[in-house]
Structure formats: structure tokens, C-alpha cells
Amino acid sequence: MTDMSIEDYLAKGGKLTSPGNVPARYRGELLRLMASFIDSELAGAAGFAETINDAPGIRNRIAAAKITQEKLDHAGRVLAVMGEFGADTARYDNRHDWAARMGRDADLKAARHGDDMRLSVFHYPVQGYVDAVVLNVLMGLATGVQMQEFARVSYAPLADTFREIAPREARHVDLGLTGLRQIVESDEGRAKAVQSVQYWLPRVEASFGQSASKRYETQARFGLRHTENDAMRKDWAGRVREALAPLGLG
């Protein structure tokens, strides 16, 4: 076999398999990508935890508890991969308040804020059960698109981890849609759901990042990304229409 640089190998679709064979810049971008997922799951779970008490009935409370528990578990699984690069996994999740939120009317766009890498959508506060269910469905559908993208990531141990996580994240959307179907049965619930959809739709949409992002180019060169932000956003919008139309919320 002829020798090949790691950069050429990655450009041709090669996979890396251990911290020992990743180049420095690749390492930085890979860890950043993992941190963004972990922080979003931790912040998402912290926000969703309150829903457990707000949910009507034991079944819905169990569903909310299950979603919260599994999002924490998914954060832990990706953090374990990060730990192989030297990250201090014991200290990581203790470093700040994941439940902290900004104002409901804050204008955050796609940018990161504060001292963590959570997607901007997880900085907005959830207001009650219906609001949480709507966010869970819209963001869950976005996670589905993201999982499809991340299963192709060039760091094989991470791609494997995302493939394990994906079916359970998909199940969170199903649980959310079940809850939403119950909510829209009443006029009051439907009105609340419509309001929440209007609130969350642009905020989840912004979480796909900027069009023609420079970061994307760097990530694509390393095989960490394959689909542009706009294409992922479009894919998500289609899934949202498909999910909401039967409920009369589309």
C-alpha cells in the first residue's frame, strides 16, 4: 500500500478510529462537534425535567421521565468518546447550571451564548407542558435529521455511538406526537399548541446554523459533515409539515 496523508485519506471518505491517529485541527473540530451535542442534550434534559411534574397523568409523566433520562444517557455516551481524547468526564457535566435559561423574548439567532456549546434554541425557557411537548416534537425532528448526518461522521467510534442513539431519539418524537394528539383534542389545548408552534418553529429552524457557513467547509473537509446547513433545514421543514399536518397544526 502506498503512503497517503491523513488529509487525503479523509478527503476520499476515509474513517479515523482512535485518538492516536487524528490530526490536531481535526481533533479540535471533532471535540467541538461532540461538545455541541453533549451540551444540547444536557441543557435539553435539564429543561425537560420540569415537564415530568407538569405532565397530565402517569403515562405522560413516564414518557417525560423517559425522554429526560435517555437524553442524559445519550450525553453520557458521547462524553465517553470525548473522554478518550482526554476530556475530564467527571468534571464535565458539573461545570455549570444546565437548567439556566435566557428570556423568552431574547433574540439569539444561531449564535452560541454563555459558557457552553448548546444550540441556541436550548437557551429559551419552556413554559408549561404543551410548550415542552411542541419543542420536543420540533427539536426531535431536527435531531432526526442531525442523526442521519452524524451517522456518517468520519470518526468511526462516534458514528457508531450516533447509530446507537438514533432509534431512541426517533422514539422521543413518537412519544411527543402521542402527547400532541391528546393536547389538540381540546380547543384550549389546540390554541396553546398553535401558539407554541409559532414560537418554536423559527427558533428550531435557526439551530441549523447559517447558510454557506465557513465552519461547514472546514468540517466537510474533515469528513465531519456531508450535508449543508440549508439542505438539512429543508429536510427538517418537510418532516415538520408531514408530522403537523395530520394534527391540523401545519
Binding site: 500500500m1 491523513i6 478510529t17 482512535s18 490536531a24 485541527r25 476530556a87 475530564d88 461545570r95 459558557d115
Partner: protein, 358 residues
């Protein structure tokens, strides 16, 4: 944090002219930590001329072998592998981290699967561990190994593979592909490329029968084989990789410390390289860390936690000196080589040269 534990060398066996198989025994209290999964590797550390080197070698033993064994092939100019091949002896102690790596699939005694593995050279080491463990623990599964080498003499574990063929008659087959020696059938000579993979699929291995494929070798082999497997209908989840990078970094260079650097001024000239582009800006020595200063200078440096925990913002100081306020992520040897967490990094010298590319 990674921790190194002592392992005693209890046996060394020469396998080929330039490869040894090393049997290691942990202390009784560490036995649990070294309870490995097939296909994992050990990372060793050793100091050469006062400089710490770390190298990873795959475990070649099966889970039911009752021993911890790694194969170490000598690489040209490789300090660790040369030392292991020439000077390592029974009774000596090595330091290693507990097994790591995810080059495996879950086994189930009831399944009847067909696995294939494609390995080149020392890429056989983790594959051997997988083959032994799988055939033992899944009595109804079968395994086909395609194994590329330069010549008969350079085939690692040749006898062991023959023994396995006899032990698991009808469940294990080996196809040797030799670069420089003609064999009876043309297919088995030369190197593994797209045509050879196609010929294998046409004549020897029905791709539709494959449940999981393992590939271990250098970059070119990984690309070729993965591409052929995908074209033959396997999806990404069925293909497992372990890259044995051909361009192993040599000895780490010591950081250059500028002797005439004075510590007088309050400001620093920072020279920062990212993605091959270098920018120079001035920053105060106190009150602002290097990462924030670089971000303020419109350098899109990688970072995540900003708390010295995650190591995303790691960079190397090439010239000048700096100190870190908090470090929960870098180990002593990385710090000795000049690596810093830029989110915790404050310059001490009037000029500092830092690279995110190294």
C-alpha cells in the same frame, strides 16, 4: 483521566523477522481493568532520552485465551517498536492504560453469522483477537479472512492461523494475498485493489452472505475495501474500521523556547496559526486568555467548555512561554511538549507563537 498501570512481561515470542508477540500480566488488583474486549488496543508509554513516547498496539489474544498479548511489528525509525523488538525481555515492566477501542461487535452464542475481515501486515493483530473470540463464542458463525502481506516470510501469526483453520474446520477460511510471490492462483498475488475485491466477490465470497466486515490496515486499503464492500451492498453500520495509520508521528519535537524573550512589558505579541493561516495581534498579559484574544481577533479557533475540562481548544506553543490557570484535560507529557489549553492560557513572554495545526 487516563491512568497508566504496570504490566509485567511474562513471555516474548519472535513471530516474524521484525515482529514479536508479548505476553503481559497485570497485578492481581488490576486484573479487572485489563479485562479486554476482542479487537481492543493497549497504549504504552516509555521515556526515550528523557522524552515520553506513547504507542498503541492491538491485543492479539482472544477473550478466552486466558492471557493478555499484543503483537508489535518493528517500523522503520520507530523508537518504541524497535526497542520492543530488540531489547524487551521477560521480567521487565511496561506501563499501559487499560484497553481501549471499539473495533468489535456484540457476540451472541445463538447467532449463525458470516464475518469477513480484510487485514494487511500487522493489521492482523486485532483481527486475530476478533476471529478467535468470535469462533469460540458463536459456534454457528463462520469467518473468512483476507490477509495481505509482502511475502510468506512476513506473514504474522502464520502458524496460529493454520491451527485455527484445523480447529474450526469448515468455519474459518483464510485467503492470503501476497505482493511479491506468485501463488498457484493469480487472485492471490499482487495487492488488494478494486479488481481483486471484485474477483473475490465473484469467486470466493458471496457479499450477500456477509453480516459484518472488519478492515484493518493502512489508509489506502481501508478506502479500497470499504468502497468495494459498499458497492457490493453493505451499509456503513456493517463495516467496522481500525486504521493503522502509515504516517505514525515520529518523536515529538521539543518546543523551541526563545532565550532572548524578556518578561518586561504588559502586552504580548501573539502569533497564532490556524488552518495554515497565521495572524499576529497584541494582547494583554493579564486579564484575557489567549483563546478569547484570538476570537476577538477574528480567528475562528476551536473551543467548547472554556473551563479547562474538554480540551477542544488545545494548541501548541512553538515559541515563548505561557501558563495555564486550570488544566483538567492535558497530561504532563502533553504539557512538556508545549501543548496548552488556550482558554486557560496567559502569555508570560513579550511574544508568543502558537499553532492549532500541530
Amino acid at each position: 483521566m487516563a491512568r497508566f498501570l504496570p504490566l509485567q512481561v511474562t513471555d516474548i515470542r519472535r513471530d516474524t523477522r521484525d515482529a514479536v508477540v508479548v505476553t503481559l500480566t497485570p497485578r492481581p488488583e488490576d486484573a479487572g481493568a485489563f479485562d479486554f474486549t476482542q479487537g481492543q488496543y493497549l497504549t504504552f508509554r516509555r521515556s526515550f532520552d528523557g522524552e515520553e513516547l506513547r504507542r498503541s498496539y492491538s491485543i492479539c489474544a482472544g477473550r478466552d485465551d486466558g492471557a493478555l498479548r499484543v503483537g508489535i511489528k518493528r517500523v522503520d525509525g520507530g523508537a518504541f517498536s524497535t526497542w520492543a523488538n530488540e531489547e524487551l525481555a521477560p521480567g521487565m515492566e511496561l506501563e499501559a492504560m487499560p484497553p481501549m477501542g471499539r473495533f468489535h461487535t456484540a457476540l451472541d452464542g445463538g447467532s449463525a453469522k458470516h464475518y469477513i475481515a480484510v487485514a494487511a501486515g500487522s493489521g492482523i493483530t486485532p483481527i486475530l483477537s476478533i476471529i478467535k473470540t468470535t469462533l469460540k463464542r458463536e459456534p454457528k458463525s463462520r469467518f473468512t479472512l483476507v490477509y495481505a502481506n509482502r511475502s510468506v516470510n512476513s506473514i504474522m501469526f502464520r502458524e496460529e492461523l493454520e491451527d485455527l483453520k484445523n480447529l474450526y474446520l469448515g468455519r474459518f477460511s483464510v485467503i492470503h494475498v501476497l505482493k511479491s510471490e506468485g501463488q498457484e492462483i493469480d487472485l492471490f498475488t499482487g495487492r488488494i485493489d478494486a479488481e481483486k475485491m471484485q474477483a473475490l466477490f465473484d469467486n470466493w465470497i458471496d457479499p450477500a452472505s456477509i453480516d459484518t466486515a472488519f478492515i484493518c490496515g493502512p489508509e489506502g486499503l481501508m478506502l479500497t475495501v470499504a468502497d468495494s464492500l459498499r458497492k457490493a451492498g453493505l451499509d456503513d453500520a456493517q463495516i467496522r474500521f481500525e486504521l493503522f495509520a502509515s504516517s505514525q508521528p515520529g518523536r515529538a519535537k521539543k518546543k523551541a523556547v526563545s532565550r532572548d524573550a524578556t518578561h518586561a512589558g504588559d502586552a504580548t505579541e501573539a502569533v497564532v496559526t490556524l488552518d495554515g493561516a497565521t495572524r499576529t495581534f497584541r494582547m494583554p498579559k493579564q486579564g484575557e486568555n489567549l483563546l478569547d484574544a484570538a476570537l476577538a481577533a477574528d480567528i475562528d479557533a476551536p473551543y467548547a467548555c472554556k473551563a479547562g475540562v474538554c480540551s477542544t481548544c488545545r494548541a501548541k506553543v512553538l515559541e515563548g512561554e505561557a501558563e495555564m490557570a486550570i488544566n483538567h484535560a492535558l497530561e504532563d507529557y502533553e504539557v512538556a511538549q508545549g501543548y496548552v489549553l488556550t482558554c486557560q492560557c496567559y502569555p508570560l513572554t513579550d511574544r508568543i507563537v502558537v499553532s492549532y495545526d500541530e
